[in-house]
Amino acid sequence: MTAIDTIAGRPGAAAPGKVPAIELRGISKAFGPVQANKDIAIRVERGTIHGIIGENGAGKSTLMSILYGFYKADAGEILIGGQRTEIPDSQAAIRAGIGMVFQHFKLVENFTVLENVVLGAEDGAMLRPSLAKARKLLVDLAREYELQVDPDAKIEDLGVGMQQRVEILKALYRQADILILDEPTGVLTPSEADHLFRILRGLRDEGKTIVLITHKLREIMDVTDNVSVMRRGEMVATVRTADTSPTDLAELMVGRKVLLRVDKTPAQPGAVVLDVQGLRVTDGKGVERLRGIDFQVRAGEILGIAGVAGNGQSELLEVLGGIREASGAVTLNGQPLDLTGPRADGRARRDAGIAHVPEDRHRLGLILDFTAWENTGFGYQDRAEYGTGALIDQQAMRRDAQGKMQRFDVRPADCWLHAKNFSGGNQQKIVLAREIECDPDLLLVGQPTRGVDIGAIEFIHQRLIEMRDAGKAILLVSVELDEIFALSDRIAVMFDGRIMGERLPEQTDETELGLMMAGMAEGRRT
């Protein structure tokens, strides 16, 4: 605990006497019984990149939403450039010189870049003069900050990196002095992220103030000048980045020592369980999402699929899970699986011995308005253990749920509670309990720890390793490289619907994988 000598509200890193770009004093915000922000104080110096780091649910996004006028704080005050400022809505935030780049972009997909930039900042009732003026300004901004985009391109035709540039351009077009970015690298390749950081440094050197919200320690260390740490709705520290270390920050985030590595023994791979050959998927718009995928997963090993979101991993899981049709050849324990037709559905996959923990548990894995006991049987409702015939044996289903919830330490262990009332980590445990305890030969796991607190992450990782050691085959998809390294016995990298190559975790590093994730063929080794 070297440099972390500050307590909430008294940032040691602040240069005395200078007026900060943003100062928050005593901000509190509760949603019902949940205290999302508790007496938050922070000073963000002008012309710096200020990181805000914390676990999921630590209250970072809520705080920034208050700053952008989405929520009204229950208590506290906001000072922008030393002036007390009321921010009742986004309009006021924009007037105060604040621009925000949300994690989920706020762009109109079928509008052009130009129209998106102009929206809400038009000059008059007629559109044409506004658009003409914006076009000129856009060219200037693009030159100044390395933010080239085609002003006439439709958003839906642009990649995520480009879309993010549009968001930054939107803020700059509104003459923002303060730019807040919420988890901006989640959808970027490492090289795209580097480009973004270059842009951010350029903006800082022009005198803009940048607030970077993230849960990635590496980014904080790479790009920020100062960093504030949030935990459970409170601001626990603000320090100079140069004076701290990732380990210190992690401890501050979690409030205890963190195990950054998962203990595991070398894998003992057995027979091939899943064999995928020439898998292709074309989506509804006619875009090829999987362009001929080949790989195998053996019993007793975890194959990790790394890659930036949107490069075909979701489609791969959906095909194997029976949600999406495809062409190619897939066998499970030597038996071919149907990739089209009525036997290519989730039920047939489960019967064949595939279990699936989907990437998006809210959209796919759970029925949020069902009780926990209804959810622990979800997808298996026609199994004999829940009764035979047309009726469901609800007693059996509830008994089963109680057991699963106990064994997976789901809290609260009340099977009558609706799924939506559990925290992210506990929801994920419900899904995992269901999919692991059905004793599959192959487990598909997508983003197992997304939106899950650190305590649950350890638990979930442990369970996956146990399952591997019990001789099951596991296909893991994750956008978190740390997770891929922690769990995988082999790593495959996906880019643009293809597998760029396979590596053993001990023989590769993040740089090489990052290059592969960006489509640089085959990295440096073979």
Partner: protein, 363 residues
């Protein structure tokens, strides 16, 4: 639910919504220059003040149970079936064809066969919109409404050109044979005071049976589980191996079949022949009934009786206070749909705020 007592959610809020709907209705009556209190008195007395009134109230309620259950089952699959009117009309055709086909020896046989015919025809009329929704994404609300209009044209054509009694001017079928006549409330309930004219008949018990059957279906069976899961989230249902097309089709066929069953009450039980517009808006009332009953069979039953009373009371009202048109019922029905269905959050917000229990720190 969200930390509020269950009774608030299932009883208090619907009752407040209902009270608001009645309040606005009273306002309308006052605005056209009549006394709402008098009108209310007439309606209540007319609907439930005598065995005569009950004979009608429960008859109407029987119709509304069928159509209400029809809408409710579809709601569980997140399908909005506004086609109850047309499906019930086609159900009437099914009943008429069955009843006229052979001289039925006993009403029990006729009841079983006519129920089958009614459900089959009603389901068939729901099948096309359901199929188009499931496979082509055609908006089921619009297609079912169009099928109401088409059903009405079809029935007019059939009654005028095909099914009419030769030589008769009236566009209606022949009277059903005696063996197909369902026992009326007078036959089995004269001791309760029901008179000969009471249209209430054994179809009421069929409706009660349907309530139980729907309850079992939705909450106890695998199919019901799948329908509810699909209604909550189509992507999740697909993930779980629940087939969307199959689920939509089954839910809508059951829905159409229930709507069609209404004809057993109205056509076989009461009119004893098929006439033009045998449904008389009951298909639409089903929407209000399902919304008010929160798509639960018990709620549907209670709401159906309430609306039955409103309909019977409305008829009396028109008789006693001619200045108030029978369409006042449609207004009340619209207001109930509005307050319970569309403006639910208006009441829910403040009421939930009052009752919200502090949640345990589990989140």
């Amino acid at each position: 639910m969200n930390g509020i007592p269950r009774w608030v959610d299932i009883a208090l809020i619907p009752l407040i919504n209902l009270a608001l709907a009645l309040l606005v209705s009273a306002l309308v009556i006052a605005l056209i220059g009549e006394n709402p209190a008098d009108a209310m008195g007439v309606m209540i007395r007319g609907a439930v003040g005598s065995a005569y009134g009950w004979g009608y109230t429960l008859y109407y309620a029987t119709n509304f149970i069928f159509t209400g259950l029809a809408v409710a089952v579809a709601f569980h699959a997140r399908m909005f079936n506004i086609g109850g009117e047309g499906q019930a009309a086609l159900g009437g055709l099914g009943v008429a064809l069955v009843c006229l086909a052979i001289p039925w020896p006993h009403w029990t046989l006729a009841l079983v066969a006519a129920s089958f015919g009614a459900a089959l025809f009603g389901a068939a009329w729901a099948a096309v919109p359901a199929w188009l929704q499931a496979t082509r994404g055609s908006h089921i609300v619009i297609t079912t409404i169009m099928f109401n209009f088409i059903a009405s044209a079809l029935l007019v054509y059939l009654l005028v050109n095909v099914l009419k009694v030769p030589g008769s001017m009236a566009p209606e079928t022949a009277r059903f044979p005696e063996g197909a006549r369902l026992p009326s409330a007078y036959d089995w309930g004269a001791w309760m005071g029901f008179g000969r004219s009471a249209p209430l008949n054994v179809a009421f018990f069929l409706a009660l049976g349907c309530c139980v059957a729907v309850w079992v279906l939705i909450w106890k069976t695998r199919l019901g589980y799948e329908i509810r899961a699909f209604g909550q989230s189509e992507p999740a249902a697909k993930y779980a191996g629940i087939r969307p097309v199959r689920t939509i089709m089954i839910a809508m066929l059951i829905s159409g079949g229930l709507a069609g069953l209404m004809a057993v009450n109205a056509v076989q039980g009461e009119a004893e022949r098929l006439i033009i517009d045998s449904v008389q808006g009951a298909g639409f009332v089903g929407i209000a009934v399902a919304l008010m009953g929160r798509s639960h069979p018990l709620g549907v039953l209670l709401a159906a009786i309430l609306f039955g009373a409103l309909y019977q009371g409305g008829a009396e009202l028109e008789f006693e206070i001619p200045a108030i048109s029978r369409e006042m019922i449609v207004v009340i029905q619209a207001l109930v749909i509005l307050f319970t269905g569309a403006l639910d959050n208006m009441v829910r917000g403040p009421v939930e705020g009052m009752f919200r229990r502090p949640r345990k720190g589990a989140a």
